[in-house]
């Protein structure tokens, strides 16, 4: 595995590959050696997915399996690609997402709504499905508990007799083809008043009674919080979003015992349980891991694995900081090694230079998240794709400034240099690069400062760094946690700026600092 990663990295400078090899993650055993395999469990960047990932991890650990959790990864595409590439072994997914986003063209014409075709399509890719876990995280219509009791509302069909209720839906639900228009038509609802409004405002409207029926996600923690009841979709109008665990079949062969434990999860998590766990994280500020451990204890009698408590704030800042520095440092180093020669080439060959500057410019316009996702199939999950993406982003400022620094040399100086009779290499080294050094250094500085900021996105591909507390904080709506990432990364950017001013004093020749 380590070797494979190193080969994939061969596009980057060799030094980078060497430096990254130890970071490339756990060594995955070949199918022949089932011992000491680490099971890698991923989850998406929202609370429910992280909780499910932790539950799966806890169950696997209870069999003595070594487990590594990569929680809060960027999104569906990233996890799916990671699973296919063998970067992760298991992650929670929803059948609706599988059918509509991941395998939109795999549904055979005439196949029923069941999951047989889906399982077959996945198996063809070496991917298995465990579950359903027991809840369907689809749209639902909600009313207040007391109203439901008073009017005897249990299903959406029951609403037919109450056109006087005030309906208020999130803007998305009102306009989506599989949202309100479909529900209204299929259930034959004809309410007197329907409003479209923001999702959060809708909950507030429910609380004040301004609206009485709204759309919700079945496991939304707000349901419990606001004393709402979800009405049953008795006609089955909404697509099903059954939670399942996706896994690599190869991983099951390597760790069969852990998968026996994981299968016990099927049917054990219903909507109410999931919504309650979401609420505990969202409103009671408990960690996903705590909530998962409590669930395992009550449901399976699994004792939480002995873990050192959460790391101290200073410890975690130090840990994230060193990882962050590593991401920035490695990518910047590689970028300098590659970009300065490209800049020199661009200055020497004006036409090629336009092409080179154009290409690096285009790379810069790729949204960072998209670039990170592109890297997953090539470099897997972890620091490598983040370093590669940061490397690519660093190219433009350094190439552009090297090019400009060389082109800006006064013609009389350039001519005097050529007239000396020195070889081109010596002219470059002794005259041109020193003269261009202030601009080159400025380019490196801006690349470094931008990198410190962009590296926070690395957390989305499991690279760690200050992005980790930031994204966890966003997920949990915990400002303190966000600050634990945001403040040090801003300070780091300032420190990098200061460091470069010092370096400038050492590198830029004194003669250029006069005037």
């Amino acid at each position: 595995m380590t070797a494979a990663v190193a080969t994939r990295l061969s596009a980057l400078p060799f030094a980078l590959a060497l430096a990254l090899a130890p970071l490339a993650g756990p060594v995955v055993a070949a199918p022949g050696e089932p011992r000491d395999v680490e099971l890698r469990i991923g989850s998406k960047v929202f609370t429910e997915s992280v909780i499910l990932g932790e539950i799966a991890a806890g169950l696997a650990r209870s069999t003595g399996q070594r487990v590594r959790v990569r929680q809060g990864l960027g999104g569906t595409r990233l996890l799916w690609d990671g699973l296919l590439a063998g970067e992760i072994d298991v992650y929670p997914e929803y059948t609706g997402t599988l059918a509509q986003e991941i395998l939109p063209n795999a549904h055979p014409p005439g196949a029923g709504p069941g999951q047989t075709w889906l399982r077959a399509a996945l198996a063809a890719r070496g991917i298995g499905v465990m579950g359903p876990l027991g809840f369907n995280d689809t749209y639902a219509l909600g009313v207040k508990h007391d109203l439901a009791r008073r009017l005897g509302l249990k299903t959406i069909s029951d609403l037919r007799g109450h056109p006087e209720l005030r309906f208020g839906f999130s803007s998305e639900f009102v306009s989506r083809g599989d949202g309100w228009p479909l529900v209204r038509a299929r259930y034959g609802l004809a309410p007197e008043s329907v409003k479209g409004l923001d999702h959060d405002l809708a909950y507030r409207g429910m609380a004040t009674g301004a609206i009485e029926v709204t759309d919700l996600y079945a496991t939304d923690p707000e349901i419990q919080r606001n004393g709402l009841a979800a009405l049953i979709d008795d006609l089955g109008v909404f697509p099903r979003y059954d939670a399942v665990l996706l896994y690599r079949m190869e991983a099951e062969r390597a760790a069969p015992a852990a998968f026996v434990a994981l299968r016990r999860l099927a049917g054990r998590v219903d909507e109410a349980t999931m919504a309650a766990m979401n609420a505990q994280v969202r409103f009671d500020r408990r960690s996903e891991r705590d909530v998962a451990a409590a669930f395992l204890q009550t449901t399976f009698g699994v004792a939480p694995a002995a873990e050192g408590g959460p790391p101290s704030m200073a410890g975690s800042i130090l840990h994230n900081g060193s990882r962050h520095l590593l991401l920035v440092g490695l990518s910047l180093l590689a970028a300098i090694i590659v970009a300065v020669p490209i800049g020199v080439l661009a200055a020497r060959r004006p036409r090629l230079g336009q092409v080179l500057l154009g290409v690096t410019g285009i790379i810069q316009t790729i949204p960072s998240l998209a670039l990170l996702v592109f890297m997953i199939p090539l470099l897997g999950i972890g620091p490598s794709p983040a370093v590669a993406a940061l490397f690519l982003y660093s190219l433009l400022p350094i190439v552009r400034n090297t090019h400009a620094g060389l082109r800006n040399i006064a013609p009389s100086v350039r001519e005097s240099a050529a007239a000396l009779g020195l070889p081109a290499g010596a002219i470059l080294r002794r005259i041109e690069l020193p003269l261009a050094s202030p601009l080159i250094l400025a380019g490196i500085k801006s690349a470094a400062v931008i990198n410190v900021g962009t590296a926070t996105l690395g957390a989305l591909v499991g690279a760690g760094g200050f992005g980790e507390p930031i994204f966890t904080g966003i997920r949990l709506d915990a400002v303190g946690l966000i600050m634990q990432g945001a403040i040090p990364s801003s300070l780091l950017a300032l420190a990098v700026q200061g460091l470069f001013e010092l370096i400038e004093r050492g590198v830029v020749p004194r003669g250029l600092r006069l005037r």
Binding site: S416, G421, P423, A426, I431, G511, L512, L514
Partner: protein, 262 residues
Amino acid sequence: MPTSAPTPSSPPILRLLGITKRYGDTVALAPTDLDVDTACTTVLIGPSGCGKTTLLRLMIGLIRPDAGQVMFLGAALTPRNVREGRLRMGYVVQDGGLFPHLDARDNVCLVARHLGWSREREDGRVADLAELVRLPTALLRRYPAEMSGGQRQRVGLMRALMLDPELLLLDEPLAALDPLVRADLQDDLAAAFAKLGKSVVLVTHDLAEAAFFGHTIVLLQDGHVVQRGSAAELVHRPAAPFVTRFVKAQRHFEVQVADGGA
């Protein structure tokens, strides 16, 4: 003032044979033949755009002719050997062309250091050159930005002379200086040239300066050599009406000649 040319005993140090150069539609040099005599000072003169700087840059291979050959020390200058040739030429541009990131001494010693000269040899040569161009040694540790225009030109000349080149090429070396500094430097340069007995090509647009330095004056117009000769020949035996017009335009020069100079 070197008025009498030493009789050229050896063959010309540099010859231009049928050189032409165009930039797009503009003819910078019509087919041109020109000899640069050994141990003499040849001055290229003419109005702006006449091709005098182009001619100088062709001599050191900074630009390549469209046709014709540059013969230096008996061999044709080619892209292959041009670097070697440049080590045997010194080149000074109008503003000195000093490298701003190096102090005076490092500017002067750049190439010698690359060639692996010993520190002692370097020191000796720098001291000799500083004396020759009358540069106070205290200035050797100054950066170009800390020196006056005249001082920069003296350093530029030291840099050009460091390897003791056979041929010295100067492109309007004094044009940017104020009159007093300029007169001083003219005297010092003339003295240095006389002492070294070097072959020199100097570009100027000032006829008085040309007469002051030049054994041979080459007057150019629109990429053609109009006349080649001494200052006196240009004044008294003009080869074309343009020569007379050019001489008359330089009013203070007429006065000098009328006073019995040249």
